[in-house]
């Protein structure tokens, strides 16, 4: 009697667990990675749930590297990356037996802000580097008549923007010790807005009450005004793509999500998060990449074979 009861309870438990696992596999997509992209990913998750109430997206941060590592471990369906995926990471994904896909999903541009009364006409990347390395300390060093000291505002070293700036503007050198660390882009803008001697950097979308400085790629070249067009066509030197990384050709809910991200509705969310939507031809190229992965029969077979394993991971 008791044995039978235990068996029955066990059976129900098993059935429940399997059903839950199935539901998770079919209806939840996990998306982890770049902290820069967390707000964007959350907006996507929310809007996608309205478009497809049967599906839900779980978003997590940790950094681009963390996201790709999770993809390698199979603990996430999608990784968000605000930097290029490194060849070694792609090799790792291929060794797992997949055909990894790196999709460009948005454009991010780093703006350089100064006070509205600051007459600085433009900066080239080398001068910007000299300022933030502490090699140029006064405004007169970078072509303004004013002899006052430059007050540098930056981000905490836990921020992805800090690392991006250090890598691409400072050429992997250090920030000047005097650089004031503020907890977010909004705080940087707030500080620069009240400081005629100040300079700061951060996302495009947040800039209100400050002036965006045109940036020249090198000294002598014309400075490029940061706006949507120059960010997207690549002429603005501090622009980059943001990526979603897949370990293999996507299926089911994951596929629906990435297709939706590249749709008009998905791209409409991008501007709200402070980034720029993809230009039309890039969007077409990324869509073609997705379709090609599905059309390739070898890939789809591999994908379906990998499916059960994925669903187990997802149910954890």
């Amino acid at each position: 009697m008791r044995v039978a009861l235990v068996c029955v309870i066990g059976l129900f438990a098993c059935a429940g667990a399997t059903r839950r696992a199935e539901r998770n596999a079919a209806h939840t997509v996990t998306l982890r990675g770049s902290d820069t992209m967390v707000v964007l990913c959350q907006r996507w998750a929310q809007a996608f749930r309205e478009a497809r109430p049967d599906l839900s997206v779980q978003v997590g941060g940790g950094g681009s590297g963390v996201g790709i590592a999770a993809l390698l471990n199979g603990t996430t369906d999608l990784a968000a990356a605000s930097r290029d995926v490194e060849p070694s990471e792609l090799d790792g994904l291929r060794e797992r037996g997949g055909a990894p896909i790196v999709l460009r999903v948005a454009v991010d541009a780093l703006a350089v802000y100064v006070h509205e009364d600051n007459a600085l006409p433009s900066l080239d990347v080398a001068s910007l580097r000299a300022l933030y390395r502490g090699r140029a300390t006064h405004w007169s060093d970078v072509g303004r008549s004013d002899a006052s000291r430059v007050v540098l505002y930056g981000r905490e070293n836990s921020s992805g923007t800090y690392v991006y700036f250090k890598e691409h503007v400072l050429d992997r050198f250090d920030f000047a010790a005097e650089t004031q660390s503020l907890p977010g882009t909004a705080a940087v803008i707030q500080a620069v807005r009240h400081d005629p001697k100040g300079i700061g950097y951060g996302g495009f979308g947040f800039a209100h009450g400050v002036r965006l400085v045109p940036i020249a790629p090198t000294r002598g070249e014309p400075a490029v005004v940061p706006d949507e067009r120059t960010a997207i066509d690549g002429s603005y030197p501090l622009a980059r793509f943001l990526y979603l990384v897949l370990s293999d050709a996507p299926t089911g809910a994951t596929r629906d999500l990435v297709t939706w991200v590249l749709s008009d509705e998905g791209q409409a969310e991008v501007a709200g998060a402070g980034f720029f939507p993809l230009p039309a031809e890039v969007r077409e190229a990324e869509r073609a990449k997705l379709e090609a992965s599905a059309a390739d029969p070898a890939d789809s077979i591999e994908a379906s074979a990998a499916d059960p394993a994925d669903s187990i991971e997802a149910s954890r």
Binding site: D35, G63, R133, S148, R149, V151, E156, N157, S158, Y162, V163, K166, E167, R172, F173, D174, F175, A177, E178, T179, Q180, S181, L182, P183, A191, H194, D195, K197
Partner: protein, 336 residues
């Protein structure tokens, strides 16, 4: 034997146990926190391969010629190519802000306490002291926000400073938290000075202010020392105000108008995103351990100073004057 004894109800003993548990839980918590913090920092101290990228444990305290620099420097840039972990700029920043804070808070706190206990009419004192104690209860994030949003700009305009957020502004903000500590403890100390001492001084013809400076203040010295030490501990451990008001730039040098990055603000700003188990993570815990030791030592020092001075005061000054009856403590109790 049993007849004479009053039987304690069982719940008395249960309550005693419970209260003892509550009391010891505080000690347990302190010990647990200490163990946790030290355990994470420990591998830095014993592992030979800790911090090998930058030259071992001593590299935390020694200037180095980093790539891209012209001269050997103390650099705190833990996220970089390579990351640079030198804690000296943080120690300098902490001492700079704490020192400035005490320079503001000791005169204000002690002076205010003297005014309240010696000069102010009773009605005024009854209003001011609770108000100051209320100031201590203002959450530090509110103080920090006030300094960041309002005070910093005013101070910058008044003194024509380059940096809006700097060590001086942070010290003013910290003084909001430290002055109430110094003032209330000092005031208590002044008011517990034995009345005979004051009355003897006045009876000998000393003026009111002579009595205050020559008798009351020296007699209250142990309490004032305790107030200063506890205020210092509060200043060195305070996080939110310095995080918001100091600018958080790890600057070497003691210029009060430049920015500073403290140990506490560094831990608060960086621990959230650091890889557990990395050198950076362990160094942050080492900083925590350092703060733990320093505040612990400060408390002990404060207690030692108080005990020593009090003993001196009792044994050498009070006892001969008040004669054989040793009535000083009783008088102090009656006084208020």
């Amino acid at each position: 034997m049993k007849l004479g004894r009053i039987r304690t109800p069982w719940w008395h003993r249960a309550l005693e146990r419970l209260i003892a548990l509550f009391a010891s839980s505080a000690i347990l918590a302190v010990v647990a926190i200490g163990i946790f913090v030290f355990r994470e920092a420990w591998p830095l101290l014993v592992d030979d391969d800790a911090l090998t990228d930058q030259g071992g444990l001593s590299s935390l305290f020694r200037p180095q010629l980093w790539p891209g620099y012209d001269e050997p420097l103390h650099v705190w840039q833990p996220v970089g190519f390579p990351g640079k972990l030198d804690v000296i700029p943080l120690v300098v920043g902490t001492l700079k802000i704490t020192g400035l804070t005490m320079a503001i808070a000791i005169p204000l706190g002690v002076g205010g306490a003297v005014f309240l206990s010696e000069v102010a009419p009773r009605r005024l004192r009854e209003w001011v002291k609770p108000a100051v104690e209320l100031l201590a209860a203002v959450p530090s994030v509110v103080v920090g926000f006030f300094v960041l949003a309002i005070l910093a700009g005013g101070v910058q305009r008044a003194f024509d400073l380059t940096y809006r957020l700097n060590a001086f502004v942070a010290a003013i903000g910290l003084a909001f938290a430290v002055v109430p500590v110094v003032l209330t403890i000092t005031e208590d100390a002044l008011r517990t000075v034995p009345r005979e001492l004051v009355e003897a001084s006045l009876a000998l013809g000393a003026r009111r202010w002579q009595t205050t400076l020559g008798v009351t203040l020296p007699a209250a010295m142990p309490g004032i020392a305790a107030a200063v030490v506890l205020g210092f501990g509060r200043a060195i451990g305070e996080t939110m105000i310095v995080l918001m008001a100091s600018g958080n730039a790890p600057v070497m040098g003691l210029d009060p108008t430049s920015s500073a990055r403290t140990l506490t603000a560094t831990i608060a700003a960086e621990l959230g995103e650091v890889t557990p188990g990395s050198d950076h993570w362990r160094v942050l815990f080492l900083l925590g351990a350092l703060l733990f030791v320093v505040t612990f030592a400060l408390n002990e020092l404060g207690r030692w100073v108080v005990l020593r001075l009090r003993r001196k005061l009792r044994a050498e000054d009070v006892a001969p004057i008040s004669g054989t009856t040793r009535r000083a403590p009783a008088a102090a109790e009656v006084a208020p």
